[in-house]
């Protein structure tokens, strides 16, 4: 039926410029109740015999979305006019309500009231749009009641007094959210409610904390003033980034002044959250150095630093706050502009994970209690919430959402969303790690799984006869991976040629043969971006049948691969290189230890061992050449847990040991990545996905240089080559010294990032750490989406596949690479948080004495790095109350802390013996503590 005769045509007239739009009203929009006798019930979503059907008003959806997400609220009708209004006001709430409506477990029905013949209403003269929409909601509610008869109560939920009054007058059942939720007799639901801001009692919580000076924030400028201010250049717009390690310090990257503006202290931050788009006003230049005093002024809230995993790069490490030493020297950093926030252009509020600040149960519990929520992520301020279940929540990890933050209150106010579990429980804390890092750990949807080939999968005859696929099953291919590796995405071969050269091949799982662009599987992988490795579990980017079976290059099975094959001279010079899709059959899947043992065992002369030895000798030459070019041998303190298979508790931790076999595999992977990068860039100079590692700036290397200077070591950091050389020469009196310096150097550098080649100029493609002009990721498509993209680019450059349409759109490609960087960063943060969590669990029962190195001198003690466990934390020489004072003083030049009488002194990089122990300063808040023996 193409033309529906029963349409009634009406036109809507618009504003100044008259626009006429057709608006078809229909008689085929159904009510969604399965028990309805009149309507078609095939699309019905409401439950079979509800006693009450709710109709939600726009403001209820906008403000009480956390409540609606609770399963207790059900059998609700969402009108299309409500959806339209919500969409215009808040897109993220719109997406959430849409998700509820499409969830088959919920009975939420979308009723297109605006297109229904009987519920569409015309605006009356003199009626505002809001009034018209409120009336439309009432008309629809009335229609439902009439349509479904008196057997069901149709209840309009609205917090708008006027709307409720009119509804009651018209004979419609209407209630406020509060009264409705109270009628459900579920006190826990009341916590989910967003309180109307007028009855918030500001002082109640803060009065519990003695001697608080009341903070009043300056008023946010109205939007019109901000716009004109931005226009005139007195305000600067940018996204606020709060320092992960010091929540009183934040940065706004401003394009208008081409630099980061530093915002010190909560009052200058003026209620902005991390991620908000803000308008900043620069402070007068003479105030640019006040940072230190400001952060101390707010310092009463500053918790002491916890013990953390040692940082692996500048992105992990806290920004160094310049020491305002007694020397009075002007620090380089203080010349950076600082400012204060005058307005918030776009809020980035979402929900946060954390726990309630411990507080005594007030007398007469059971009533409403005000509590302070502390986010696990220190970048966010505490949030005031109201709860009726304090007792239940005190020892729990909970999720809280922010509702508002007004000028008179020190903290924003919010409401409870849900409980994750008990604090300290491993599963709960792992869940927190995942939520905090925005990692999707849900099982794959059925649509995604439907994209997988049927199991058991084997190489088909079509694959073998495909002219683009070379049959390499007769080649002796093998893989070397960490023990127990199930997702093997790379394999190697090395065959001696009659002319004395070697044919070396790197074979990578042909993931793109199974993951096709535009499919749900591809979309999901692109969203996830990477697999996430936690200590006790792995969250896959692709479903298990692909990662562990179909794509995994296991031994003795035929698998599809994408191969890079070089001919190399015994001196490791590349004579020729080629790329091809292939079929391989791995002859051995070895662990690093096994491979190393084979190479070391001089009695073994079998072909596989010979291949390994040849390969190793080539790798050593390649590595040497790379280092000569200036590649840095960086070091990080990676630890490895031994996990109890039953309880999943850590049994042992130790440093991850790197063997020659690791380096051999790594060397060939690097070479393959570089070769592929060259090939794709040649074919697609504007839309290749590459990886670059920015050269560290002077300022970033400053902490390293200061440390080196204090111990009399000269480091030349002018080029990566000079840096590599001086790192080589940095040999101290103990064997660990060189590694320590390398670790300190590594943490000064930022991390490598993905980018689209069209965005930057070729000199900027440089990869500093590898000293390579271009680099990309090709070798791990099972667990990194970047590699999937690169596989597609490589296939297209060989002319065997068409380039997917996304590559024609540079903007889209940039957003893909931004997402990949974001996901990688989060995956790393999650991995580190997981290691920290397990470290804590490990030491809970095992107080330990161990050796540590001092890495930073502070006014009241120093920071030590514990090499054996890869952790770093503060050791206090004085109690916290007498901060900076007392009998110790600092020698800034020599990076020493000395006792006044000169009897004891500690200097940087010195070895000390420390005691490691888990303490609980507050109930349910265990933390690791380091103390000097």
């Amino acid at each position: 039926m193409l033309h529906n005769k029963s349409f009634v045509k009406k036109t809507r007239a618009g504003r100044v410029m008259k626009q006429v739009r057709e608006h078809y009203l229909r008689d085929d929009i159904f009510c969604g109740a399965p028990f309805c006798k009149v309507c078609d019930t095939s699309g019905a979503r409401l439950s079979a015999s509800p006693s009450t059907i709710l109709v939600l008003d726009t403001n209820v959806v906008l403000h009480q979305i956390d409540l609606l997400e609770n399963l207790a609220i059900d059998d609700a009708v969402v009108l299309s006019i409500v959806l339209e209004e919500v969409k215009n006001k808040n897109l993220s709430v719109y997406n959430r309500i849409r998700a509820i409506c499409s969830n088959s477990k919920r009975n939420f029905f979308v009723f297109s009231n605006e297109y229904h013949r009987d519920t569409y209403i015309k605006e009356m003269t003199g009626e505002t749009k809001n009034d018209r929409n409120d009336r439309a909601i009432r008309v629809a509610t009335q229609w439902y009641q009439n349509h479904l008869g008196s057997g069901v109560k149709v209840l309009l939920i609205t917090n708008d007094k006027e709307n409720k009054r009119k509804a009651n007058e018209e004979g419609i059942h209407a209630e406020t959210v509060e009264t409705y939720v109270k009628s459900l007799d579920r006190p826990d639901l009341l916590d989910l409610l967003v309180r109307p801001s007028e009855d918030v009692d500001m002082e109640e919580v803060e009065d519990l904390r003695p001697s608080k000076r009341k903070v009043i924030y300056i008023e946010h400028k109205p939007m019109s003033e901000i716009t004109s201010g931005l226009h005139r250049g007195i305000y600067h717009q940018g996204k606020l980034r709060v320092n992960r390690y010091n929540p009183f310090e934040a940065y706004v990257g401003s394009e208008s002044i081409g630099d980061q503006i530093i915002i010190y202290g909560r009052s200058n931050m003026n209620r902005a959250f991390d991620g908000d788009i803000v308008a900043v006003e620069l402070l007068p230049q003479d105030q640019w150095q006040e940072e230190k005093s400001l952060s101390i002024a707010c310092g009463d809230e500053d918790e002491d630093e916890d013990v953390h995993l040692a940082p692996n790069s500048a992105d992990d490490a806290p920004r160094t706050i310049p020491q305002q030493g007694s020397s009075g020297e002007i620090n380089a950093v203080s010349s950076r502009p600082s400012g204060r926030i005058v307005g918030i252009i776009k809020r980035n509020w979402h929900s946060y994970c954390g726990s309630l600040e411990p507080m005594p149960m007030p007398a007469g519990s059971g009533g409403i209690v005000h509590a302070l929520f502390v986010s696990k992520d220190r970048r966010f301020p505490k949030i005031r919430i109201q709860t009726r279940q304090l007792e239940n929540l005190l020892d729990k990890r909970i999720v809280v959402a922010v509702d508002s933050w007004d000028r008179q209150s020190r903290y924003p106010s919010g409401h409870y969303v849900r409980t994750i579990g008990e604090i300290g429980d491993r599963d709960t804390e792992s869940e927190v790690v995942l939520i905090e890092n925005d990692i999707n750990s849900r099982p794959f949807s059925s649509q995604v799984l439907a994209c997988l080939p049927p199991l058991p999968w084997t190489v088909s005859s079509e694959d073998l006869s495909n002219p683009i696929r070379q049959d390499l099953r007769n080649v002796r291919v093998f893989s070397v991976d960490p023990p127990g590796c199930k997702d093997i995405d790379d394999a190697l071969h090395c065959t001696a040629l009659p002319n004395g050269n070697f044919e070396v091949g790197v074979h990578i799982a042909d993931v793109t043969n199974f993951v096709h662009p535009g499919t749900p599987l591809d979309d999901e992988a692109a969203q996830r971006g990477t697999s996430v490795y936690l200590v006790e579990r792995r969250i896959d980017m692709l479903p298990k049948p692909l990662t562990e079976d179909i794509c995994s290059l296991r031994s003795d099975v035929e698998r599809l691969a994408f191969s890079v094959i070089w001919e190399m001279t015994p001196e490791a010079d590349v004579v020729s290189s080629r790329f091809t899709k292939s079929v391989i059959k791995s002859s051995a899947a070895m662990s690093y230890v096994e491979a190393q043992a084979r190479m070391d065992d001089s009695r073994l002369m079998d072909p596989l061992t010979t291949d390994l030895r040849n390969m190793n000798s080539l790798a050593k030459k390649m590595r040497l050449r790379r280092i000569e070019r200036g590649a840095l041998t960086l070091a990080s303190a990676e630890v490895k847990f031994q996990i109890d298979t039953e309880t999943h508790d850590p049994l042992d931790i130790g440093m991850y040991q790197i063997r020659e076999a690791n380096q051999m595999v790594e060397e060939f992977m690097l070479a393959a990545n570089v070769s592929v990068a060259q090939q794709i860039l040649k074919s697609f100079p504007l839309c290749s996905l590459l990886r670059r590692h920015p050269t560290p700036t002077k300022e970033m290397l400053e902490p390293l240089l200061r440390t080196a200077a204090a111990i009399g070591l000269h480091l030349d950091v002018s080029t990566s080559k000079a840096m590599a050389d001086s790192l080589d020469q940095a040999v101290g009196d103990d064997p660990y010294f060189n590694k320590l310096i390398r670790i300190l150097a590594t943490r000064c550098m930022s991390q490598a990032v993905y980018f689209c080649s069209g965005e930057l100029s070729p000199p900027e493609y440089h990869h500093y750490g590898l000293a390579a002009p271009i680099y990309t990721h090709f070798t791990s498509p099972i667990r990194r989406y970047a590699d999937v993209i690169v596989h597609r680019l490589l296939a297209a450059s060989l002319g065997i596949f068409k380039l997917p349409s996304i590559f024609q759109d540079r903007g889209q490609l940039t957003s893909v690479s931004d997402n990949l960087n974001y996901r990688h960063r989060n995956a790393q943060m999650a991995g580190r948080a997981s290691v920290e969590l397990h470290t804590l669990i490990y030491f809970r029962k095992r107080p330990t004495d161990t050796e540590a190195r001092i890495v930073k001198i502070r006014s009241n003690g120093f920071f030590v790095f514990v090499p054996k466990y890869g952790i770093e934390g503060p050791v206090y020489l004085t109690t916290r109350s007498e901060k900076g004072g007392g009998e110790w003083y600092i020698d800034e030049q020599q990076q020493k802390i000395k006792k006044i009488d000169g009897s004891i002194s500690y200097s940087i990089l010195q070895t000390v013996q420390i005691h490691l122990e888990v303490v609980e300063p507050q109930p349910n808040r265990p933390k690791l503590q380091l103390s000097l023996i």
Binding site: L2, H3, N4, F7, K9, T11, M17, K18, Q19, V20, R21, E22, H23, Y24, L25, R26, S80, K87, R98, C101, S102, V110, S112, E114, Y115
Partner: protein, 241 residues
């Protein structure tokens, strides 16, 4: 932008496979030999046909077939912004040509050598799909003028937005930047005489979108036949047959 809601309704309340309301009227310009008004929703066009008549410019006369000419224009009040549009701009020249070629393909020109047929189409109100409406109006006007044709030519557009093929795009949907296929067919002979597309579409989706447009053309053809039948009945009645 959401052009099709998850409930399956378009911005104007239609479902993806539904056309706008169409309406036609024969004989709007009494001076012409044949004329018609054709409406697809808020798009309204008028067509007038003169001929077959003597060729005005002798040099263009053809001894084996009739000369078909077409002039397309848009009324200044046809769009919201009421701008004075110069006559003979590139767009109208192109549309004139498209209409002429489409109509020429179905007129039995060889029956009328040494003669000329003029088709004038003017858009009175534009709301997307003007090309299709012009062709449909011209078909009716030619039929009204009694010009021999192989078949009716009918036209309809279809597009692809939010991963959904949509029939008969209105102005809002048309300006969304998605693909827009305008199709003209000879419904009885089941032949395509016009196929135009803006933007790009993967080939398999193009097939779906085209199929939808064909359905649309057929529905237009049925309606046009009804109108013609009705008109003939009226004529019969007036002549007292």
């Amino acid at each position: 932008m959401e052009y099709v809601s998850p409930e399956g309704l378009r911005l104007d309340g239609r479902r993806p496979m539904e056309m706008r309301q169409i309406r036609a009227e024969i004989g709007a310009v009494s001076k012409a030999d044949g004329s018609a008004v054709f409406e697809m929703g808020n798009t309204k066009v008028i067509a007038a046909v003169y001929g077959p008549r003597q060729v005005q410019n002798k040099s263009q006369q053809m001894s084996d077939q009739a000369l078909v000419r077409c002039e397309y224009s848009m009324a200044n009040f046809s769009t919201g912004d009421r701008m004075r549009k110069p006559k003979g701009d590139r767009r109208s020249t192109e549309i004139s040509l498209v209409i002429r070629q489409t109509m020429e393909a179905c007129i039995l020109t060889h029956l009328m050598p040494h003669s000329q047929i003029d088709i004038f189409v003017q858009v009175l109100q534009a709301d997307g799909g003007t090309r299709s409406a012009c062709i449909n109006a011209a078909t009716l006007a030619l039929a009204d003028a009694g010009i021999p044709m192989r078949d009716l030519v009918t036209s309809c557009s279809a597009g692809y937005l939010n991963s959904t093929p949509l029939l008969d795009l209105n102005y809002v949907e048309d300006s969304a930047g998605g693909a827009d296929v305008t199709l003209g067919i000879l419904p009885k002979l089941d032949k395509v005489t016009l196929l135009q597309m803006d933007s790009k579409l993967p080939i398999d989706i193009l097939e779906n979108v085209m199929q939808l447009a064909i359905e649309g053309c057929k529905a237009v053809a049925n309606y046009i036949r009804e109108i013609l039948l009705e008109n003939t009945k009226q004529l019969e009645y007036r002549r007292g047959v």
